[in-house]
């Protein structure tokens, strides 16, 4: 049994997202007129050693997101932790 961490990195609302805007235009062109906004983000899965405590896993995941997976200038993150 190990820890499975799912990390979601998303652009802060104040940051323009040219990729999301392009995808939205494509969706609107495809006929999905109801789509009024698209924001692209990143999804990362981390597998941790099951010997760690849940608190330690959360602490390390937090550090990993702050240091590498997200750039605090433009992105925010959240994650979920499950035993698998």
């Amino acid at each position: 049994m190990g820890w499975h961490v799912s990390v979601y990195v998303t652009l802060k609302p104040s940051v323009q997202d040219p990729q999301g805007a392009t995808v939205q235009r494509a969706l609107n062109q495809m006929g999905y007129q109801a789509v009024q906004g698209v924001r692209m983000g990143k999804f990362t899965e981390l597998e941790f050693d099951g010997k760690l405590s849940e608190a330690d896993v959360k602490k390390q995941a937090d550090e990993i997101c702050d240091k590498l997976l997200a750039n605090p200038n433009i992105e925010s993150y959240r994650f979920t932790v499950e035993k698998k």
Partner: protein
């Protein structure tokens, strides 16, 4: 003057930098592999363009953790001159040595062409040989050159006069059409508060001779030489 150029897996302008420094400017240059920590006693470190680590995760995000970057940060902290060009600018931003971040171009396209930039600040070691407002013709080649910083950060940049170069038209007018990538405030390059670290998206390494279409990039290298000589 002694320059050291850092080399990461995926750097591809390292030899452009080496060439312009050694063959055009006639200075000493050392190439420093990213796993090395000895910068070899430079007067100025150049972090070159390219696609370090394949631009995985975010441009520059992985390179900033290379062993050599710790030495570059220490060198800058002691007042050493550091210039980051293109991917080098992205790396310095990711490393927190320069404010802000470079995101995807507004058009989503990789843009490779000559642009014009206006020198907004001449009291830096990288622009002291420029005239205030001087317009330089220098090429860009990037997919992620769209400079972004939050409102508070932008105010700080303006208050401290850290916006060194901005995109403009050939006459030096900053217009929406002359901004190639959607950069906030048409920012093409910034320096840190201490003014010894400079990053820019345009390539002074690829504009040192007329045969390349422009020699305007030379003035950046001349400025660095003048700074070392104590002129500025």
């Amino acid at each position: 003057m002694r320059f050291s150029v850092t080399v990461f897996p995926g750097s591809n302008c390292d030899h452009d930098c080496e060439y312009v420094i050694r063959d055009v400017m006639g200075q000493k240059v050392e190439m420093v592999w990213h796993k090395e920590t000895d910068l070899r006693n430079p007067d100025c470190v150049v972090v070159p363009g390219g696609f370090s680590y394949g631009d995985y995760l975010r441009t520059g995000a992985i390179a900033r953790f290379s062993p050599v970057m710790k030495s570059v940060a220490d060198f800058a902290a002691k007042g050493g001159l550091v210039v980051g060009i293109c991917n080098g600018f992205q790396i310095l931003c990711e490393a927190g040595m320069l404010p802000g971040v470079l995101i995807r171009n507004k058009s989503l396209q990789f843009i490779c062409k000559n642009v014009y930039i206006k020198v907004e600040q001449t009291d830096t070691p990288f622009t002291n040989a420029c005239k205030p407002g001087q317009v330089l013709k220098i090429p860009i080649a990037h997919g992620e050159g769209n400079y972004f910083i939050d409102a508070e950060g932008l105010k700080k940049l303006k208050d401290n006069r850290q916006i060194v170069v901005r995109y403009c038209d050939p006459e030096g007018q900053v217009t929406p059409e002359s901004n190639p990538n959607g950069s906030l405030d048409a920012i093409a390059g910034v320096c840190n508060e201490k003014r010894n670290v400079f990053g820019l998206m345009p390539h002074p390494d690829r504009s040192g001779e007329d045969v390349l279409g422009s020699h305007d990039g030379q003035v950046i290298w001349k400025s660095i030489l003048a700074a070392k000589a104590g002129v500025a």
